[in-house]
Amino acid sequence: MPIVFEGVSYSYTAPAKPKDAKKPRIKAKEASIPGERPAWGNAPDALWAIHDIDFTLEDGDFLGIAGHTGSGKSTLIQHMNGLIHPTLGRVLIDGTDIADKKAASRIRGKVGLVFQYPEHQLFAANVYDDVAFGPRNLGLPPDEVDRCVRDALAQVSLDFDSLRTASPFELSGGQQRRVAFAGVLAMRPSTLILDEPVAGLDPATRNSFLNLIAELHRQGLTVVLVSHNMNDLARLCNRVLVLKEGQQFALGSPQEVFAHADELKAIGLGVPSAQGLANRLVAQGVPLGDISAALSPRRTAANPEGATKRLYDIESLADELAALYKAQPAAGAIQPEETVHEGQAGGPYA
């Protein structure tokens, strides 16, 4: 069930109504006049919250979305299950435009959206009813609903029997979030979209949440993860989309995207810490990446940017440094390189 974004722009000041989504209220011409009104931001007359987004979410993808505060991440993901409709452009799921209200409600069971701080949306008198809210809305028979709730609670490792009658408001924050999460999983979506799912959790709960998400992906769910944490994105995702002021800034594999530490830094984002260290080492002339030619010059034709060729995590970086250390001629240290030249931005950078 690929989700295709075709030139999607969204404006909070002139949102398209579901029924007339086909005819945008802002004409493309007006939209492109520069200088008339601030193109992005939250001034009263700013135009775009997101602008000209173009990509496809394939089945089985694990897409990470990063971007500075207010860059439009939350706005973007709400397009994926038809909560909001593009002011310009369209979103296709399975080839059908979801601007239509019926199409949008049909896909809601398949695309599960977990909002930021989902525990703030709990409402029912007990955990069971809250988790069952989604499946019941889908019109499933009671025994099916029951199975969905049991499975969902098991998935988030909550005990069904002890919690089913508990009030969600008596639980701890982490448990509340699990319940809210189960409420979305209970609808058995095939695509799961998570808006900063681990914000404000303690390290242990955080890790178990991320592991759960990775596990769901392994089981075949398509996952979209909005996060400010580059380490998580690098570790989990197979593709990363970076937004800047509502526009697509970079899209590619974590390796491609995080190779450009400087550009990311310029828009207030970092790179995964191990990769950041690797990049600095390379800039200092440490020949990471090609141990065979350990002491050859770094700036080869194949690698004009001086960035590392692969994405390092802590283990692989440590391994490689160890190998490098062993391969080192006994006599001397690694020679520092002459001045580092900045490469041109290219590759995934728009």
């Binding site: 000041t13 709400q78 909560l83 703030h120 949306q121 709990l122 409402f123 029912a124 809210f133 809305n137």
Partner: protein
Amino acid sequence: MPEIAIIGRYWPGTSPLHRMDPRAKLLMSLAVMAVILCAQGFVGLGVCAFFTFGLFVLARIPLKAAFKSIAPLAFIIVIAALLNIFFEQGGQTLVQWGFLQISSKGLYQAAFSGLRLLLLLLSMSLLTLTTATLDITDAFEHLLAPFARIGLPAHELSMIMGIALKFLPQFVFEVQTIYRAQISRGATFAKSPLKGGFQMLGSLMVPLFTSAFRHAETLSAAMDARCYHGGPGRTRLHDLRFGSRDRNAVFVLSGVLAAVIAANLLV
């Protein structure tokens, strides 16, 4: 933040109108409304309209934004006009349709009261468009201060009003998010209010109330932490001061009042 302020969300600016003393502005806007109510004919209203639009130009607020700010209240104008059309009788009968009839006087009255309401709303929205909520509540507190002597809790009242106004957009924003979250879980708010309707409503209202309590707790903790105790002896960062701008405003408004009265008498 969504655009919800019932009448005119603050439009940041540095015009003379923005910089007027909020107390003066609050009183003036009451006075402007009084002047508009004084007008008894289209000429008088014309003077008021000219004046009101002049103020918008002075405040550098686009007319489109002005009309947008009163759009949620437009139904009042429509209802008032319709009532006048059908219930105000006299003069020539233009249309007769069963027991309904439209007379020329009704039409005249409808246009007149519609226009007057429009001007009233516009001038009211001008206050909130050019004044930050905090300033409005400050002004409110100052103007109520004389009544504190007879036991009116002026400071508390304005603090409550200020907090309520401040949080209104926040709550609208949160309702929106909660609404979308429940829609994502297949909720349908449009149909069958009886069958499961209460649960749907609950799925909106319960999270809203819990968030209200959460905000109240954090806010009171934050105010405590800043040693807030309200009441007397509290100084402020920006003291309100009347200036020449405010005096000029009184002159201009008196001029307009004179013009309206003249229009009433002469036409």
